[in-house]
Symmetry: C2
Subunit: 230 residues, 2 copies
């Protein structure tokens, strides 16, 4: 078990320190370049202890993906509070998302970049989290459309105050895919662009998305020109 | 050079056949599972000939990424015709994008999925293409905002007919990131969902994006609630 002494400490605490160090190292240096030596040193433990707790670099990386995915999903769920109007729910959800990705740039880099560029197993972990978020957003959009998505319903007015439109399930799913894709892309951009705050990123996406979604929720949709030009 | 006889054929034609076979195999089976034997057989040539032309599985995969990236970028550029109104340009660009990704699902799978999940070198190839498309969309949004983005300017009216708003460069870049991310996400969803046509996917994104962008281009933006709730 190596010769480095480690202070007695509950396993959970020790493990969290290792994961913190691993997220930072994988996020900043990339999966391939990150070494177990570096992670152990940053965590202040011996390398054998890291292997004892997390088995292998692959399993350590998988543990990082799962922890960061759960943290991000929890943050978004906590941001979206039922009872607010649709635009307010969208705004709070976006703000929670961009605040979390700005405050955890290494975790976001792992989820958005590292996990997707190093093989199908890791990509599948992220894909599971993404499906969950898309399903959450799909439900929110469907409910908001049914209840009417008037921007005036900020104060949590009775559902049905603004009769909305029944959005087909598939249309809601497509809109959710678009919104999630836009948010992922913007988060990567915001973290890579000096001076763009979480609030600005959320405002940009809200600007982009709201009026479009808002119109849809009141049954006004954009129609392609007819007859179609070739 | 092996013993399989191959008909005399110009190198460019032969190479295109190999790339066609490679795109299909990588796209459908994934980078790791695809074998050079399979690709050679599908192309109707000997495996040594594939190696002679394309050197290695990695170089063959890189050649696939580059060809498919160029084809997609060309398709989008061809779709966006200057002189149309902003909404019409967006619509034509989206339609070109979704038509291309629907008609070339294997190429899109390589760009969106395979190339991003198998190491930083391949990911960098896709990243270069993506930057180019984001830059194109950023310019379109900035110009549309400056000229006014009225949906009524379909017929290519004089720029300036609808005085618009000067969108800060950074805001235009953020909106372009959001739009491109939404399009990528929707294309993957449309290709994976039976019965969703290119036109439907383009209409969904247009619905999502246009009213929002359209409002912005006329200087109407969404404002976050003040004072902010915690």
């Amino acid at each position: 078990m190596g010769s480095v002494k480690t202070k007695r400490m509950p396993r959970a605490v020790r493990e969290r320190q290792m994961l913190d160090a691993a997220v930072q190292t994988f996020g900043q240096r990339g999966y391939a370049a990150a070494s177990m030596d570096e992670i152990a040193e940053l965590a202040g433990v011996s390398k054998p202890l890291v292997y004892l707790y997390l088995n292998s670099k692959d399993e350590l990386f998988t543990a990082c993906i799962r922890r960061e995915a759960a943290a991000l999903t929890d943050a978004v769920r906590a941001g979206v509070r039922p009872g607010l109007g649709a635009d307010r729910q969208l705004w709070e959800g976006l703000r929670a998302f961009f605040t979390h990705t700005a405050q955890n740039p290494d975790g976001w880099s792992i989820l958005h970049l590292q996990a997707r560029t190093h093989g199908e197993t890791f990509a599948a972990e992220v894909s599971a989290m993404r499906k969950e978020i898309v399903a959450l957003v799909t439900r929110l959009i469907a409910v908001a459309a049914r209840d009417g998505g008037s921007p005036c319903s900020n104060e949590g007015g009775e559902p049905g105050d603004h009769p909305g439109s029944d959005l087909p399930e598939r249309e809601a799913a497509g809109l959710a895919e678009a919104l999630v894709g836009a948010a992922e892309s913007l988060a990567a951009w915001a973290n890579a662009t000096p001076g763009v705050s979480a609030r600005q990123a959320a405002t940009t996406l809200m600007n982009f998305a709201w009026a479009g979604l808002g119109d849809l929720m009141e049954g006004r949709s954009w129609s392609p020109p007819e007859p179609d030009r070739p």
